[in-house]
Symmetry: D2
């Protein structure tokens, strides 16, 4: 073992398409990246061919990466970008301004890192019943909401609850919001992803809930997700890569007098440095000879039998989830109703 | 006006069958009353004929009346009676020990006096999904739960949410829990009613949500309710009757030296006193000449145009609802699973 | 009894100075009333002489009366008036722009109708600790907060918790927020009162907590209160007066063809009608011969021994308290920091 | 760097005395360990001399280590041991059965991983005010509680709030409950520590709040803590040690046919294996040559400048904290009142 790693056991647990793509350079993927106001927006279009390679469905994947949302000004900027990108995605799906929408808040409202979906629902404008009362002015569409809970709470398969509601009330399209697992430390609570491919549990955190998609529901399904948890394997494997980069950076700069004068260490991640295998091996021995996937497999074998491959969330999770649910709720309102500004 | 009251406007707003019956002595109703441990249990069977007179569906109505549930000992007694009566009702419906149950917590979890249903769900044992995993021992049945929210939150008709879930998951029977309006001060937060007739919004608080019953869902529907709110009309009209009784009692006892020595007034409601119309007229003038329904109609005409026919709840509502949801949740668990004691 | 009422038992339970004044026309009171944007602001100055008559401390009493705060536009108007009046009160006390403030949220966070104080604290800007870190720009003053709980939760006398904190941290002045009992249906959740006399439990809801005032703490103490509960006596005695007015109004208008054509009854409270004792006696018999205080005393004797003088709150209390805590929190922030707009 | 680590920057962030001791074998420490029902209880007595070496105050440190508290049976066992150990500690301090106690719930009730203290307070029996009313039977002592909040909420130094309350109300002793940072993955939410030395922020998570101890308050101060968060440095450095052990174990067992037949990997941590430096170097290169403290320092230098030394908590934190607060609350009740069983 160690020299002899079996890669079949460890599946990369990520719900974020951009992370799947980070790991592999693939044909059949068109990707655009823009940076505005310190916010990075990546749009990825996956075609049929690429779909099979990266095990992600054909469709659009938009990722918005940002820093601190507890800062009010920054949160307003993120909200604006998010709403703009969501509007674009809705337009691409040829959804009309009158089309009715069911918004589904997935997850467990009693578990903070899993409560994003239900919390977004609290911030969403519900109008469907007002239309029947004739109380709605122009500029609004019909919106209803559903918080289906999780199977451990309800005893019922979540995807089937959704299907029964969709079949009964016949909304024209669906938006589902969920908390996700991240495959990288740096994206936790700092990324919003959206896609028109719906939700496909197999590629994500490993729950057995079934697909929420056009294929199962016969209406367009937009999924919005934020990675709120990360596992110990990812923390350690990311750190191993940072150690490699930090080591190389330090070797290059050890005699740079500027570094010696700095009170705080520089953010070496921002530097363009050519990494080589030799440094990694010197620093990390056998571990340094392994590919990323092999390191993850090794960590899986080390941590799982002793029960320490924890799924964790930053200790500030309550405040972050609250801000993120406000950003997403407000952004959805603006995208769905052209009279909300 | 006053002498000339139009009784067509004011509908008595009560969800409690026992209250409908109190007001009118009716044929076709069989009624049993027992008192145990300071708890009064009334069982009423309404047949087809009586059903039309009291505007309550044919079926069993069981009412459990009690005093302070913030007392632990007393709450345990109420839980025991409640569970026993629920078990009897389930048996009368010929529901088998293996029959699967969907428990529906009606009401708005964000409004304390309306949150009884959702809170009961928190205290209920959910087992349905465990059966599929083979994790359940003998003595348990399949139980799933639903908290459908209210239309103002979801935009969707609550009864139709329930119907779509019942149609999809096909439970063998349903238990719905809801907070009710009371037609008497003394029953608020001090009564649990259950019935095998389901929920019929027309007779209750006046929301337009539709029926939840065997007729609409094709499975037995047991409704469990607690009156948690009362309107100002009821508070005033009840008080007018208490004033009448108190006046007659005082006249009879004014020279009784025992009364003069008492530090606190006696509970005159417990006394058997013959009331007469003349006392009521002397005490209350024209108002004293009116029948109960006429007084309520008058109060409706007085309070409604000025916006003061408030629906109110006792200020201790948070603590009472919490205790009641524990009693009902525990009681349901014991009635549904013979392995829960 | 009835003819022979002992007025010594029933104390009018009100924390609202304006209500004490409504009941009695008193010398030594200067009163101003303005109406703006549908909001009525009453300022009452009580001097030493009047103080003894109405059993309210010498000082300023400002009352802001409004209608629906669940309407966003209206809530913003109320916030603006409230903040302006609070600023004026602070100025009258000669409190400087640099003076440090301790804001105390009284009441029980676990009881909705009593949670106003703790909820306001959630909406208040806390700056005291930031001054020590040098992180505060101009336009802010030092603000700290305290949520002392209630004696039933802490086991400690609330006024002494406050005194110990004031003695230790030495704020320059104090603002205390509390939920109050109302002496009139129409003010419940529709009035904000503030005063520079502090909090004097004896005149209010009857809890034995001690005074929070300049006399006990040696710093100016502003009290802000909202009546959130009302007792059954008040509901009934108010309704008796409405019945009287409604009866007189109806007699005058019974043949007015306009009334017969109206789908809804008019708001007769808005009409100027001369009331006379004779109508009240005809309508209400012996009860109609009693003064307001005597009617309340009678209701006390009727309802108390049977346990039905409930303190109640409107069933929408959760939503109203939330809005009111936002209005008061935002208003305080604007009054305390001239850089908050 | 790497070869040339400056150990002055990184302070080991632990509030757990047992962890400080794990790292160093010290004279002047008497230690006892028992294992009962799968629960490990370690009692450490630190004398003056050892105190200075491990930077922990002289006194008793008791640590209770357990596994899953979401299992009801196991949680009851932990509660029993915890209460027994707390009673022993109270006895050692010569605190009488009549001595009054102030229980302080430290931390931020709005941040789940930091809410242990406030949540315990909800489960604690408060009796102080009942003594004044003469409502207490034998077998209870005077208990009052305080939830002082955190400086970011109140603007006030928490230790000074406590001091002002202690000075005013003069309890005979104090129990403070707080959530802690752990220095090891395996203790997070699986350890309760208690000590008679009070709380000394300098040795723990690094907040600047001041000491809560006999020295500052003049009454015995018992601190009860649970590690609920851990930093990324600890996760990585623990994993590096597990990798070393796993590597050695694998080398020894690679040809063991039993291992090849096992569906799941064995818990190699339970095996007695002799570790050697050479394995660590082969596996981990330069990193493998470093001492534990040096590795932590390196990780600090790698993770801090890029902002990824996250403090994290397991994603199940809500459920774990709830169970732990029940265990500690119930345990305290049993230890403080001999009539609570």
């Amino acid at each position: 073992m160690g020299h002899n790693i079996d890669l079949t056991n460890y599946k990369i647990r990520t719900d974020l398409a951009i992370e799947a793509i980070d790991n592999q350079k693939i044909k059949g993927i068109v990707s655009k990246e823009i940076n505005e106001d310190g916010i990075k927006i990546t749009e990825v279009m996956v075609n049929e061919e690429a779909s099979q390679i990266i095990n992600k469905k054909k469709g659009h994947y938009i990722t918005i990466e940002f820093s601190d949302v507890t800062d009010y000004e920054n949160s307003k900027k993120v909200e604006k970008k998010f709403s703009r990108e969501l509007s674009k995605l809705i337009n691409k799906l040829n959804i009309s301004k009158e089309a009715s929408c069911l918004i589904v808040g997935l997850g467990n409202s009693k578990s903070t890192p899993d409560s994003l979906g239900p919390l977004v629902i609290n911030n969403v404008l519900v109008t469907n019943h007002l239309f029947e009362l004739g109380e709605v002015t122009d500029g609004y569409r019909k919106v209803s909401v559903l918080v289906p809970g999780v199977m451990g709470q309800t005893g019922l398969e979540t995807s089937e609850i959704i299907k029964s509601i969709v079949d009964k009330f016949k909304p024209d399209f669906l938006i589902a919001i969920d908390a996700l697992a991240s495959q990288s430390i740096e994206r936790v609570n700092k990324t919003i992803q959206m896609t028109d491919t719906g939700i496909h549990p197999g590629s994500g955190i490993g729950n057995s809930r079934k697909e929420i998609s056009y294929e199962t529901l016969n209406i367009p399904c937009i999924a919005i997700g934020v990675p709120t948890v990360v596992d110990a394997i990812t923390i350690v494997s990311d750190t191993i890569n940072y150690m490699h980069k930090h080591y190389t950076y330090s070797k290059l700069n050890i005699n740079n007098p500027i570094n010696k004068l700095m009170a705080y260490s520089p953010n070496y991640l921002k530097e363009k440095i050519t990494l080589n295998k030799k440094d990694k091996e010197a620093l990390l021995g056998i571990v340094g000879t392994l590919e990323d996937n092999e390191i993850k497999q090794l960590l899986f074998e080390v941590l799982t039998p002793i029960g320490f491959n924890l799924m964790v969330t930053p200790k500030e999770v309550d405040f972050l989830i609250e801000k993120l649910s406000l950003i997403i709720g407000n952004g959805i309102n603006k995208s769905l109703h052209y009279n909300v500004k």
